[in-house]
Symmetry: C2
Subunit: 160 residues, 2 copies
């Protein structure tokens, strides 16, 4: 009865722990906090780490023509707009992690490419999820269940 989401009273509907939204919000921040000390060692913030993940993903695909990555592509993958990405990428450029340059064939586009310095971070970056998975008291099945549930939810949320 406490779980029939449809017909709850106001009190129950507004209970913090019943709000999927709050659970997502808190879990996300706590998870990022867990990453922080490890990312600090690499000199990265969490969103910067995400940008690298996307860049590595695109580079891995042999099929893509030219492997060019635009700001727009990053934004679509990370669900972020240029108001967030432009200053973030500028900071990463100043740290020598990437280069931004206008595309010659279409000067509206900005092509992002990683420097060797950023390439070298890849091995260290892979140690982060490995380290975090290790000292988790939740079992693999639990984690996979949560992951799959979140994939469904995110799909649902994006399509609105």
């Amino acid at each position: 009865m406490a779980n029939a989401l449809a017909d709850m009273g106001d009190e129950e509907l507004l209970a913090l722990d019943n709000q999927l939204c709050f659970l997502l919000y808190s879990s996300s921040r706590m998870m990022t906090a867990l990453y922080r000390p490890l990312l600090d060692q690499l000199g990265l913030t969490y969103p910067q780490y995400l940008v690298l993940l996307v860049m590595w993903e695109y580079q891995g695909r042999e099929g893509d023509r030219d492997k060019e990555v635009t700001i727009k592509m990053l934004g679509e993958r990370l669900l972020l707009d240029t108001g967030t990405l432009t200053p973030l990428l500028k900071r990463m450029e100043q740290q020598g992690l990437l280069v931004r340059q206008r595309a010659v064939n279409d000067e509206r586009k900005v092509l992002v490419s990683l420097t060797p310095r950023a390439q070298e971070l890849k091995a260290g970056a892979a140690e982060i999820p490995r380290a975090l998975l290790c000292h988790s008291s939740l079992g693999d099945e639990e984690l996979i269940g949560i992951r799959d549930g979140l994939r469904l939810l995110l799909n649902e949320l994006v399509s609105k």
Copy 2:
């Protein structure tokens, strides 16, 4: 095999969609985006809405002596520190949603109390989760499964 989290290769470990962290981060932001137009009507941001939820929760408990709510209590419940809460609560005070005053018996504490104006928002606030639950294509069981999984995960994350 793609799900044996322990022994993945670098590529697979770093894949964006395999990162619980990214799923949480994106889902949280997309969920907040869904709340935004509804909260706009109430003149609230999402963190401000959370503060109201906690205040309403404490007020509902007849047992609590004096029903006094300090900034520390809000921070513990929302997992936020004073660097976030102090300016946030000041903004809410300026909007006439709450009052902040030092406790007489312990002048380190700041007591937060809602104004009638904030009380009146409660009914409208309850309509928000109701409205969002309605047009979800995910079933109740799915949502409850995700919620329970996130409760487990958040518990795990907080205890570190």
